[in-house]
Amino acid sequence: MTSDQQTIDQLTSQEYKYGFVTDIEQETLPPGLDEEVVRLISARKNEPRFLLEWRLRAYRHWVQLAEQGAEPHWAKAKYDPIDYQDISYYSAPKDHPRPGSLDEVDPKLLETYSKLGIPLEEQKRLAGVAVDAIFDSVSVATTFKEALADAGVIFCPFSEAVEKYPELVERYLGSVIPHTDNFFAALNSAVFSDGSFVYIPKGVRCPMELSTYFRINAAKTGQFERTLIIADDDSFVSYLEGCTAPMRDENQLHAAVVELIALDNAEIKYSTVQNWYPGDENGVGGIYNFVTKRGACRGVNSKISWTQVETGSAVTWKYPSCILQGDNSIGEFYSVAMTNNYQQADTGSKMIHIGANTRSTIISKGISAGFGQNTYRGQVKIMPGAVNARNYSQCDSLLVGDRCGAHTFPYIDVRNSSAQMEHEASTSSIGEDQIFYCRQRGLAIEDAVSLIVNGFCKDVFRKLPMEFAVEAQKLMEVSLEGAVG
């Protein structure tokens, strides 16, 4: 046991490797939020009138919610109250306006992204992934623009989309997640600074995977990005999202909104590897990750698939959902959530079946180690019109160590007798017999645990695009290090 304990201690003591700070000149608004700040952000981005008004509506709604004390606290997580006046709502590397090519990008920024292992530079063309990189509040670089433009795909920073394609933005922004949706969505709608915008035209299969990397750098800032993806009729896109942040003793707020819209026969595959700074081993610092993600399968035969690997953040509050409006549409959610040390994750999915013959699958794997608290919370709702709807949910939890917690809270509402709904969940520790078997075969204990955990997560990992799957496996190993006991 002692040697096991040592291995665990070694493993746990592994550092968060993305915790560096880039020393770059930044323009940051002083902390505080009022209508002026909202106007200032909007002005800084030369936004059209409709967007400013939308932001202001959202801001006023948020103020109302704040006064009513409507900040959601129902998640199974404990954290200190957030002082919204102590956060800076806009921070950008100086040297703007937006660079025309990567040569104009501050080399320090490029260095940051290369430290993160992100193929920003065009010479890494072989990687075949188009990247939009968001540094604090603004997008700093987008690659492969030409190749994408040839296919007719629009992939650009949100602020650029607002300038160039205002009619698309106006039509779809907030159509899946209105500014009144919830407290954090309202806040995001008021102060969002940048994000990615994707439009796949009719009949186009996006020639490469699109990827966005989010990086929080500045202290005392919040990050509020907004992603909007529209897949028009008969199109397909696979989108990857990654994120990291420096190590700081304070908690930083990340409140993003992601809206997906799939029209007739379109498919969107959205993959996330979330690796925000989780705080240190005593639970000091880390990101509060309060994200609203929702996709609408508007068209017939459309499909939206969410895959997420959640290893970072001090507190996670995130429920990627699918509204299955179109007949025969499909929603999928594959998730691995890992909590170690004092991390807390309350995550899951919502599947709302409206159209006939709609199908959804939820596969959720939660791993708790250290003092981590991991909660699956999800909803499957089958409305009266969803004839022959089908749902299958499976939520498994793995406990590593006796001080952590694993919780499962599914909500199942069915209003149609032709629907078939199945939910299964299990919670267990890694069996002594499993470890024993592996050790018998000559595996070290940490390798055995890693093997078992990977097997546990396999259903989800194999849904990830190749590069992400490798990264996810490594991340799990790092995150679990020191947890074995």
């Binding site: 160590g401 006796d402 694993a406 599914p410 909500y411 509402d413 007798s417 032709s418 969940a425 267990s428």
Partner: protein, 445 residues
């Protein structure tokens, strides 16, 4: 604003009931100590008021209709003189509370073996206060539960069953709460206390039924305490009238190596809300919770269960099955909690719902809250209709569609009743379920 005033005045009205009953001497002879408990409970009820839908535990069940009605609380209801309206065993042990008072004529407490006591709870509280207070309100904590608080403050008729150490009695003991039709809506407050001594074994059938058009609100509390190595088969049968509200809190506390097999069968009622809570507080304790709820048009059946594994080496299994027809609503909310030090736990929880109508509604929320690592816990939930393929199989064997359907529904419901040890009760419940299914079938055609 007016609504709020009405509600709070309603809550105060219940407070006045306590003063009135005390002045009338309804609680005469009961120990001073318990009068304090009643006042404290009433204070808790007044403080919290009625549960409402903003509370997570009550999000699918609204008591608004219940609060709009003014319920009478008779000091003692009318004597019941009718025939025995319920199923019973000729020489079987039974105690009947009809319209809020013990109906001696309907009860049969003859020839009980030594060590088996079945008596009026109010009488026991007056004549043997110390013995009764040893157990009463020990499992049912009213501080944060307004409906338990209301019952604790106001109950006047109840049943106390005590099985001494080492005694086996699987008779069964039948406890019947009967409400007959009167002109005005009545609040009835059934209170049951069951104590099983060390190494004892007992079968108990607690039955709640309403007659005819009776409209009432039964706010019931059942407390069950099991001593070491005691074994109990407990059947709760609810046959309320369509115009009734039933809120039933059942709290069981299990010590080491004891075993409780609890079966909740709901066959009727307007709004039924069961809060069933089992605490496994001694190593080796095990609990089985079976549930069968049949809800047709106008019925809203909400089962909330909580199984708490407080110590290591305890196990629980739960199977709740619902059949929903017409506009029936079925809600299942099952929580399994494993406390930090409780290692070596096995817990399994199932909820299945069979929907016979498109207008029915199911909310199923099986929940796990686990703080220990050496556990094997699982839950599953399904909602669907009768499997077409199985139906087809039966039809290929020459069975007509209606019979095939009935066969399948019976088989489905039978899984719950088949775990009941007492053959007579099992058969009786099967028959009741059968006639419910037949009745519903014709109603929906």
């Amino acid at each position: 604003m007016t609504v709020t005033t009405n509600k709070s005045s309603g809550i105060k009205a219940y407070g006045r009931h306590l003063d009135r009953l005390q002045k009338k001497g309804v609680f005469a002879g009961q120990p001073e100590e318990y009068a304090d408990v009643r006042h404290a409970a009433m204070a808790a009820f007044t403080k919290h008021g009625f549960p409402h839908r903003k509370q997570e535990e009550w999000r699918n069940t609204s008591l608004a209709a219940l609060q709009e009605t003014e319920y009478l609380l008779p000091e003692a209801g009318e004597h019941f003189t009718g025939k025995t309206p319920f199923y019973h065993w000729a020489d079987g042990t039974r105690i009947v509370i009809a319209n809020g008072r013990v109906a001696a004529g309907l009860s049969n407490l003859e020839g009980l073996p030594r060590g088996v006591r079945v008596e009026s709870l109010a009488d026991a509280l007056s004549s043997q206060p110390e013995r009764t207070l040893n157990y009463l309100s020990k499992a049912a904590n009213y501080a944060s539960r307004p409906l338990i608080a209301l019952n604790t403050a106001l109950w006047s008729a109840g049943v106390f069953v005590e099985i001494s150490a080492g005694v086996t009695f699987t008779g069964p003991i039948q406890i019947i709460y009967l409400q007959t039709s009167i002109d005005q809506p009545v609040l009835s407050l059934p209170r049951t206390l069951v104590v099983a001594g060390e190494n004892s074994q007992v079968t108990i059938l607690e039955q709640h039924m309403g007659q005819g058009e009776a409209t009432y609100w039964a706010d019931s509390v059942t407390e069950i305490l099991l001593d070491r190595n005691a074994s109990m088969d407990y059947i709760l049968l609810q046959q309320e009238t369509p115009g009734s509200f039933q809120t039933h809190a059942l709290q069981a506390e299990l010590t080491g190596d004891s075993s409780l097999s609890l079966h909740t069968v709901t066959l009727g009622g307007g709004l039924v809300r069961n809060d069933t809570s089992v605490r496994l507080a001694g190593e080796g304790a095990e609990a089985y919770l079976g549930g069968l709820y049949l809800a047709g048009s106008g019925a809203h059946v909400d089962n909330h269960t909580k199984i708490e594994h407080a110590v290591p080496n305890t196990s629980s299994r739960e199977v709740y099955k619902g059949i929903l027809d017409g506009h029936g609503h079925g809600i299942f909310n099952g929580l399994v909690v494993v406390q930090p030090e409780a290692q070596q736990i096995n817990a399994d929880q199932r909820n299945n719902n069979l929907m016979l109508s498109d207008d029915a509604l199911v909310h199923s929320n099986p929940q796990l809250e686990i703080y220990a690592d050496d556990v094997k816990c699982s839950h599953g939930s399904t909602v669907g209709r009768v499997d077409d393929e199985s139906l087809f199989y039966l039809r290929t064997r020459g069975i007509d569609e209606e019979s095939a359907l009935r066969l399948m529904i019976n088989g489905y419901a039978g899984e719950v009743t088949s775990r009941i040890g007492h053959e007579g009760i099992r058969e009786h419940l099967d028959q009741l379920a059968q006639s419910w299914i037949d009745g519903e079938d014709t109603a929906s055609e």
